[in-house]
């Protein structure tokens, strides 16, 4: 009798183990993309359009990655589920807008829709967003850490900060959407094989990749980057080793915030600026972070690319408004099958 029970359980356990494996999750995601592709093809959508969407998906993934990497770092190093991360992206976009208003308007650079002044604004806005994050940490999170508040309370404080930041944006810029360059034409060009994208989007992709490379170098090559990874691994050990946790916290916010700011500016350049844009991005960001395993910056990049691609390709046959909904579906699939994400260890989180 008991042997029968035991074999049945073993099968059940085995099935669970297979379903929860890394390969199964990757296969599931691949299947999802292929299924979408087939669905689109069945509706008679030309392959060229799908390829264009794929390229755009990679670009969107790049933007999301800028947000997701910082979110994952803050999650991993500081143990804060930063629900204000989306609004930090928004803040970056609007701070760049503010900087633009002080700069003389230059001619568009080459095929792009923007001039040198946007690059200046980018350089100005990024550290400001980092500083914003660090300021909130000093005023709010540091106190909560001292009180040994659980992550949920941190999350709630982050939510409060998110609404605070957004209220300031509403106050300064109002609720309507704006463009960095109102009325400037942004024609798409043909890359090759009929793939059409806007030059701006290529720039965004290039910039996102460049920043990701920078972050990689920072995390792998610099002392502070290594200390951040060490703190994410084991904060207690980092402390007794003598790592200056205060400066790790500072740099985590500066880097995470700076990347978020850049992501917001890129998103604003691609679409338009809205006070709610960061909130809408929050769900895809979290989905990317969980898909790529919390605390793993490279995982966040992979997760962001997957979600960007699926989001864009889904627009071939789905109302584009449902983009964040697609991210939600991926999130639920990951939570169902492999909550620790692609790069996580089983049992760990």
């Amino acid at each position: 009798m008991s042997q029968v029970v035991s074999t049945r359980m073993r099968l059940e356990e085995r099935v669970k183990r297979v379903l929860g494996s890394r390969g199964a999750l990757i296969a599931l995601l691949a299947l999802l993309i292929v299924a979408m592709w087939l669905l689109a093809a069945a509706q008679g959508i030309p392959g060229q359009r799908l390829l264009s969407l794929l390229v755009r998906g990679v670009m969107l993934g790049g933007i999301l990655a800028l947000g997701a990497i910082g979110l994952s770092l803050i999650f991993g190093v500081l143990r804060i589920p930063n629900f204000a991360h989306g609004d930090m992206m928004t803040a970056g976009a609007y701070l760049a807008l503010l900087a633009l208003s002080f700069l003389p308007l230059g001619a568009p650079l080459g095929p792009f829709s923007f001039g040198y002044e946007l690059l200046v604004a980018l350089v100005v806005a990024m550290p400001l967003v980092g500083l914003l994050g660090y300021t909130v940490d000093r005023l709010v999170f540091r106190r909560l850490r001292a009180q040994r508040s659980p992550p949920v309370i941190m999350a709630m404080a982050a939510l409060g900060s998110a609404f605070l930041v957004r209220s300031l944006i509403y106050l300064f810029w109002g609720a309507d959407f704006v463009f960095y360059y109102t009325g400037r034409a942004r024609p798409a060009i043909e890359l090759f094989a009929g793939i059409r994208v806007r030059p701006d989007q290529l720039f965004i992709l290039g910039l996102a990749l460049a920043m990701i490379v920078l972050v990689y170098l920072l995390l792998e090559r610099t002392k502070m980057g290594k200390a951040m990874r060490a703190t994410a691994d084991n904060p207690e050990l980092a402390r007794v080793t003598g790592i200056d946790t205060e400066s790790v916290i500072r740099w985590t916010w500066l880097i995470g915030g700076g990347l978020a700011g850049a992501g917001g500016i890129m998103y604003g350049l691609d679409a338009q600026l809205r006070p709610e844009m960061g909130w809408w991005l929050l769900l895809p960001l979290f989905a990317a972070v969980i898909l790529g395993t919390i605390g793993n910056a490279y995982g966040a990049l992979v997760g962001a690319l997957v979600i960007g691609i699926v989001w864009q390709v889904s627009t071939a046959f789905l109302n584009p408004a449902y983009g964040p909904g697609v991210a939600f579906v991926i999130l639920i699939l990951v939570l169902l099958f492999r909550p620790q994400g692609i790069f996580g260890r089983p049992g760990g989180s």
Partner: protein, 234 residues
């Protein structure tokens, strides 16, 4: 003057008192071992020595400086490093990066220090690019000790360096501890493995139920049948 002096230390976690008026000291150049049955408060004594627990009563002094409750990075700068019993490496960092983290408080070049650690643990030199999380228990212990040695401390605190290791590795680790001591580093260690640690230690303190029970030279305690009785309650 003693390197580390603990006097009449009473402390614990939350409301639970673990140590009652414990005193011990480490002189320059010594290996001192704290032994005692499970639950005697050995690891707690170690944590208190490193300033991780605030003394309720009594004092912890490093040299002449009172360090009870001082921040860890300050203590590390004074020249005392601590190797916890478990979770004592950064698993996603490579061996080399783990060592670099040990020297975080230093600003200058740390190449020579790394080479010194590699000389002590050639095994680590072979695997310097490997992630610490993928290493065996003995190798991890070496990484952890090597990391603590990066600062060239005056005093090294080791919490059960042999826990969970196979006998051969235990011998190896104890030999390394002797090497470390020979290079001029004083060592305070907590050990489950009483026999081996008494053989190694110049002096030892026996804690039972959070109180000092016996102390003396390693050899004297080794010869004392009372110690065995304390452990197995015979």
């Amino acid at each position: 003057m003693a390197l580390l002096t603990i006097e009449g230390l009473t402390t614990g976690y939350g409301e639970m008192e673990v140590l009652r008026s414990v005193s011990l000291h480490v002189e320059q150049g010594e290996i001192v071992s704290i032994i005692g049955p499970n639950g005697a408060g050995k690891s707690t004594a170690m944590k208190a020595a490193f300033g991780l627990l605030k003394p309720w009563q009594g004092s912890v002094r490093f040299g002449e400086r009172e360090i009870g409750g001082l921040a860890a990075d300050k203590i590390v700068r004074l020249g005392m490093c601590y190797v916890p019993q478990t979770d004592n490496v950064f698993p996603s960092l490579t061996v080399e990066e783990n060592l670099e983290m040990g020297a975080f408080v230093l600003d200058g070049a740390i190449g020579p220090r790394k080479e010194r650690v590699y000389a002590l643990f050639p095994r680590l030199a072979e695997r310097r690019r490997q992630r610490a999380g993928k290493m065996s228990g003995g190798e991890r212990q070496m990484v952890a000790m090597g990391r603590a040695l990066m600062l060239d401390p005056k005093l090294l605190l080791l919490d059960e360096p042999s826990a969970g290791l196979a006998p051969l590795l235990v011998d190896m680790i104890f030999e390394r501890i002797r090497d470390i001591n020979d290079s001029g580093v004083s060592v305070l260690m907590v050990e489950q493995n009483a026999k081996k640690s008494l053989e190694l230690a110049h002096r030892a303190f026996v804690l039972v139920n959070g109180e000092n029970r016996m102390d003396g030279t390693g050899a004297a305690l080794l010869a004392d049948p009372e110690v065995g009785r304390l452990f197995l309650g015979g």
